[in-house]
Amino acid sequence: MTPESRRKAIRVDLQLISDMIEPGSRVLDVGCGAGTLLDYLVHFKQVDGRGIELSTEGVNACVSAGLSVIQGDADTDLKDYPDHAFDFVVLSQTLQAMHRPREVLEHLLRIGRRAVVSFPNFGHWRVRWELGVNGRMPVSEALPYQWYDTPNIHFCTIKDFVVLCTELGITIEKSLSLDHKGGMRRIGNNLFFANLFGGQGVFLLRKG
């Protein structure tokens, strides 16, 4: 990849995550896929970056590109990492695929001083419309799977996530919502609005 294509390749939500990460920090990307974000962070934010990825294809693509990525399962493998081993732990579009999202979230903030978490918002009005009016599980560009073949087993709304953070004693330092056109809004006190119109939530978290 050339630096130019790297800049072009990164999605808006990944750019938002990247903006939350301090240059030169130690970063673990959990569920790093083919390494798009990690590669960007390593080359443009000079981070010491590592990744975990479940799929063989993703891992092989990452390691072939010179990224430090292990084949592993976030549900089982996060427990091996020591406390505060990283400045930032990223969980991008992966929370909803975890068997134990609550435990994973706790591990993120044990391993990292901060965590950046993004996930599709199941409270979006289109989702509610599909379920409430049409009576069908929602399928969209952002959530392209049918109910029977989806890897996403633990959907939540932006509001659900905020409630869980409160329960776990997690401080939300930044919270943003992204609509489907890439428009970004601060969630702040507009939780009702964000939960209805946000396509996904992006959160910067710390423990305590």
């Binding site: 010491d48 590592r50 063989t56 891992v59 092989n60 693509a61 990452c62 390691v63 072939s64 590109a65 010179g66 990224l67 430090s68 990525v69 292990i70 084949q71 592993g72 493998d77 091996d80 990492y81 020591p82 081993a85 990283f86």
Partner: protein
């Protein structure tokens, strides 16, 4: 410092081993884990490519149980291609136009490095079973002395598969400051009961051969070829997967239309294994086989570090990449993953990929494009971090994305 064609004392029918040989431990003897000391021992090695001006492009390849230093040129005894020609050479994954690749024959080996078939200077006779029992650590200490001799302070990369991978782990653990990157392949941090059991079958086959003569066969002018061949046959099965044996041979018969109701090699797989056994004994020393399998059985990296494998790598600056193969049942993915977990526990810089292959343990020696792509990417990434200028690209189609 090194000479070509050093003398080999293995017997009248053994020609001198070509390549480099150096005598080490002349001033200070090498103290072995067993407590014994070796002084003035020989290490035979091959090199490929050239060392750069700041001596930062050296790669050490550690060979496996029955491998040797001839990884990328024809074997002097069998004439066959080097065992890692797939990987090592100009423009290949270990690009000899870019890196200086060193491969020594291990301590206890039988291709020119001091081992049980060489002459014990104290008696003037072959060592035989008087040779001290060696360990993986001892092999690595001997290699470190070789690097001292070659004036190489830090290796860019240490790599190897199987027992070679065990040496890689020992290198990273014993000399972390001398290793920039470590690439252990299809290996384990300790030998399992099953691993030890298979080795014991091999050793017993050798020792049950009357021609073994209590280990003294060289002095008696004999060779325990039958026992060593059986050991090789049993071990060879463990290097292949059930599927690869099935695909290669199935139940097909060897040059006959029906079974013979006897004990000839009716099946192709029998004929193949017999061939493996017979060709092996031509190039390998039976006592070496005993010593090296013992060294592998004794290997338990966690045991040396209070039972906690992670302690072997605490504060390691080394960049690791661990590779396993799906159909390898000798050193399965779980064993390799155990190493990865230990490295994670100390927040080491580690990559880990499990390569899909039906070729079993031997996959690391074979044409596996995905494996080659992945390790090539790791090595290129490490070279970038090491500041080694110039990039190496695989042939189109094998190129990393």
């Amino acid at each position: 410092m090194s000479t070509n064609g050093g003398k080999s004392s293995g017997g009248k029918d053994t020609p001198p081993t070509p390549g480099h040989q150096v005598i080490l431990g002349t001033k200070v003897p090498l103290r072995l884990d067993s407590g014994a000391e070796l002084s003035g021992f020989t290490v035979a090695y091959q090199t490929y490519g050239s060392l750069n001006a700041d001596r930062s492009n050296a790669i050490l390849v550690c060979h496996a149980l029955t491998g040797d230093q001839f990884l990328a040129d024809p074997h002097p005894m069998t004439g066959k291609d080097g065992w890692w020609e797939q990987i090592v050479g100009p423009g290949k994954v270990l690009d000899t136009e870019r890196y200086y690749v060193i491969c020594p024959n291990i301590l206890g080996g039988c291709m020119g490095t001091t081992g049980p078939k060489e002459i014990n200077p104290e008696t003037g006779k072959p060592w035989g079973l008087d040779f001290p029992v060696i360990t993986i650590s001892d092999m690595v200490r001997a290699q470190a002395l070789l690097l001292d001799e070659l004036g190489i302070e830090q290796l860019f990369l240490v790599t190897g598969g199987s027992m070679g991978g065990m040496q890689v782990l020992e290198w990273a653990s014993m000399y972390p400051e001398r290793v920039f990157a470590a690439l252990p392949i299809a290996t384990a941090s300790r030998h399992s009961a099953q691993n030890i059991a298979f080795h014991e079958v091999g050793r017993q086959a050798i020792m049950a051969d009357p021609d073994w003569c209590g280990g003294n066969y060289l002095a008696e002018g004999k060779r325990p070829h039958r026992g060593l061949a059986v050991a090789r046959m049993a071990a060879h099965i463990t290097y292949l997967s059930e599927q690869s044996l099935h695909l290669k041979f199935g139940r097909r018969l060897q040059n006959r239309k029906s079974v013979t109701y006897g004990f000839e090699a009716d099946f192709q797989v029998e004929s193949y294994l017999r061939h493996q056994g017979i060709t092996f004994v031509e190039r390998f020393d039976a006592n070496s086989y005993l010593y090296i399998t013992r060294a592998m059985d004794y290997f338990d990296l966690a045991d040396k570090h209070g039972g906690v494998l992670a302690n072997a790598f605490r504060n390691t600056p080394v960049r690791f990449c661990v590779i396993s193969f799906t159909s390898d049942w000798l050193y399965p993915t779980d064993e390799n993953r155990m190493i990865v977990h230990a490295l994670n526990a100390v927040a080491a810089n580690v990559s880990f990929a499990e390569i899909t292959s039906d070729k079993g343990h031997d996959a690391f020696l074979l044409d596996e494009p995905e494996f080659h792509r992945v390790i090539h990417g790791f090595i290129n990434g490490a070279a970038e971090h090491r500041g080694l200028v110039g990039s190496s690209a695989l042939a189109p189609g094998e190129r990393a994305p």
